[in-house]
Symmetry: C2
Subunit: 442 residues, 2 copies
């Protein structure tokens, strides 16, 4: 275990010192760089048991899974009972099914049933994000009663952003800030001072939507209700930060037709598996572009100069299409764009696109003329460029909207696929024009 | 102003009802869809003055700028004094210089000087994000004194996540949670119960770094200190959410060599200006790819079939390069990847890349053979594909790291540029091989 020292962050003499002085998040970071034997060693020999649960709640799922197989059920149930409910549910979610069952049996029944409920929700939904630690009081309680209760339980910071007010049947009817509470008359009822217009989400709402609501209203916490408007839990803003980063990363990867690979942990094959399928599809698409050229073998043989402009036509179409597409995909993801704005947005893009197509098309004509000293070729190249770019803009703007409309993920359409599509049409336009004007070309 | 009705969100009968029942964020949303006359009308005739400042703090900078020119200095100073300091600084930042000066003159001197200080910080820095509303007490005060003070000022939720402890010379020495405070003996000194290991940032730290720290430690607020370790302000998590979304969007746009365009507001020309420069650069790059082909005119004339594989070689190189590049760009942006991991990451990518290059190269050889029934051509195409893909992986992985190292933004290297680069090298490899094996080809 000597080599552990080398892996320590700068400025730490010994492992003990590091574990003692660092935040759980930093320890988790450190653990994720080690191999499984070293992780076992640290938990067994070095890491004080009282911080196990905190450190684990910062680990990624691969490592959680490994630890859940390494610890005994009784250890696991101890760890879980020290965790916040939402973190505990995450940890349980990463365990092998068998372990989950046995571990839950060892937990306090109310804690266990609480976790079972949380486990029931989709990770991608509001239910999957929420915690069941929140402050709720009945609308017919007085400010005084609430304040006394608060002093008694001395809640931790995350819980006291807002105090939720519920009916005796657990329906969410209002919300209060600590400030309002402190300012209120002791004997006033909550329903008289509460704000009844509560921003809330359903347990099934997609977590990306949840993130947008946080961003839009600058919220610190958001109550989650079931279809009977009963308060099921709250989502705190610190959990939403990770969601926003993860969702953005997902989109970016999809747009490049890839996925994160961590060969070190996941092994070479899974790394290849994550990328090659897309590439094989794209390979077929590109071969189709090849067949387009192949079908025009004769004109190409007669005027080989036609080939010189294949790269520029292909790439520029792809670039312009990707620009339009990126704006739409991101706009839909952040909620800035909405389906209702399709036509106006398409029109905006078209205006810009036509101007750009004119500039690029004409400048390309000039280049072609200078290169080959053949005005007809210049004309063909210029016109093809113009048509290709306008097509690219229309495709790049329309396709993600269509995917959104049919409930598919717009990001998947992005980059490579649209490019391949535009290549084909561009080459087709180019060579068709060339064939039509062939005798003039020669 | 009749047409205003049509623009109301669904379910609202009248403008009055909407303005009365909606959250400031929703009203701001609505205003951003209207033309300037309508916005003026709503502020003058409809919107109750007491919510002006809240609504304005949710508007984008264009609209803030417009309003700052529309309101009088005295109105502006009223609005500013109702705002949170960080929002007020944003609003001031969007005003014409003249207005700023005159408006500050009308403000309470201490508020004015506070805002001047906040204005001094770069928007992209921790200083630009922070607010000066926070709770700080001296280390030699007692828990009792602090609790009394808290009841007296009844702070709003955003402020009571943490209580910061400072020395008499304003140096940040510790932090306390409300919970610790409530649990403490009344007469104990803060320095005896505080946590001295405070996570803090410097006023000049880039806001993207700030966001990473929030995400990593699940913080609710982060103290900001100057180079003397004096507490200058705090950043609250709700402001960081916007940062993360904006930074992700910026990166995504850069990777597509574009920028958001809102022709409606910014006009057609600015829309074109935002995209055409990149495209002109790329046009030149693509023409260079064209010249590569041009330099091999003779082999192409002899074996026109060589042209059929230009699209697949170009696109696949671009696709694979973009995949590698995207993983690095995003990894560097989220802090998952660091410069120190360059070699290990490059090695991971290479292993995956070589396997993929073998699969794709050999399958392309087969296709070429079947198409043209020419084993030599198949060989040339396959080998070119293999070399191109491996080059693409190396370029795609290395270039963003280099840009990071020289302090440039890795995202700018992305997508189109790398693609154009790889196209050129790919075509060069392809045609060089072809010329070398020419007599075998015929």
């Amino acid at each position: 275990m000597e080599k552990l020292k080398e892996q320590l962050p700068d400025g730490f003499e010994s492992l003990e010192l590091f574990l003692e002085e660092s935040y759980p998040a930093d320890i988790a970071d450190f653990l994720s760089k080690l191999d499984e034997e070293e992780v076992k060693y640290i938990f067994r020999e070095k890491l004080p048991r009282e911080i196990w649960s905190e450190v684990i709640s910062y680990l990624d799922h691969d490592l959680m899974y490994f630890l859940s197989r390494f610890f005994s059920e009784s250890e696991l149930s101890d760890i879980l009972s020290d965790m916040h409910p939402d973190d505990a549910a995450d940890f349980l979610g990463s365990m092998p099914v068998g372990k989950v069952k046995e571990t839950l049996n060892l937990l306090r029944t109310n804690k266990a049933s609480e976790l079972k409920r949380l486990l029931g929700y989709d990770d991608e939904s509001a239910g999957g994000l929420m915690t069941t630690e929140y402050l709720a009081f009945y609308s017919d309680q007085t400010a005084q009663q609430v304040l006394e209760k608060l002093r008694e339980i001395s809640p931790d910071a995350e819980m006291i952003y807002y105090i939720y007010v519920i009916s005796r049947t657990k329906e969410l009817v209002g919300v209060l800030s600590v400030r309002q509470l402190l300012a209120a008359q002791p004997d006033i009822l909550l329903e008289e001072i509460m704000n009844n217009n509560v921003i809330k989400v359903s347990v099934n709402l997609d977590r990306e939507e949840v993130a947008h609501i946080f961003a839009k209203y600058d919220l610190l916490a958001l109550p989650v209700v079931n279809n009977k408007n009963q308060l099921m839990g709250i989502i705190t803003v610190d959990d939403v930060i990770d969601v926003i980063e993860e969702e953005a990363t997902e989109d970016i990867y999809k747009m490049a037709a890839t996925a994160d690979i961590n060969v070190e942990r996941n092994g070479l094959l899974s790394g290849v598996k994550k990328r090659i399928p897309w590439l094989l599809i794209l390979l077929v698409g590109d071969l189709m572009s090849g067949t387009v050229i192949r079908n025009f073998e004769t004109p190409l043989q007669q005027v080989v100069a036609l080939a010189f402009f294949i790269p520029v036509l292909m790439d520029m179409g792809g670039n312009v299409g990707t620009q339009s597409l990126t704006v739409v995909v991101r706009g839909l993801a952040t909620g800035e764009l909405h389906f209702s704005r399709f036509w106006s947005h398409l029109w905006e893009e078209l205006k810009v696109g036509i101007v750009m197509a004119l500039i690029l098309g004409s400048s390309l004509s000039v280049v072609a003329l200078l290169w080959q000293d053949n005005p007809v070729l210049g004309l063909i190249v210029g016109i093809s460029m113009f048509i290709t770019l306008v097509t690219a803009i229309i495709a790049g703007t329309t396709i993600p909207f269509i995917m959104e409309a049919i409930g598919a993920d717009p990001a998947v359409a992005a980059g490579p696929f649209i490019t391949t599509l535009i290549d084909m049409s561009g080459l087709f336009i180019y060579f068709t024009l060339a064939t039509l004007l062939m005798e003039k070309l020669l």
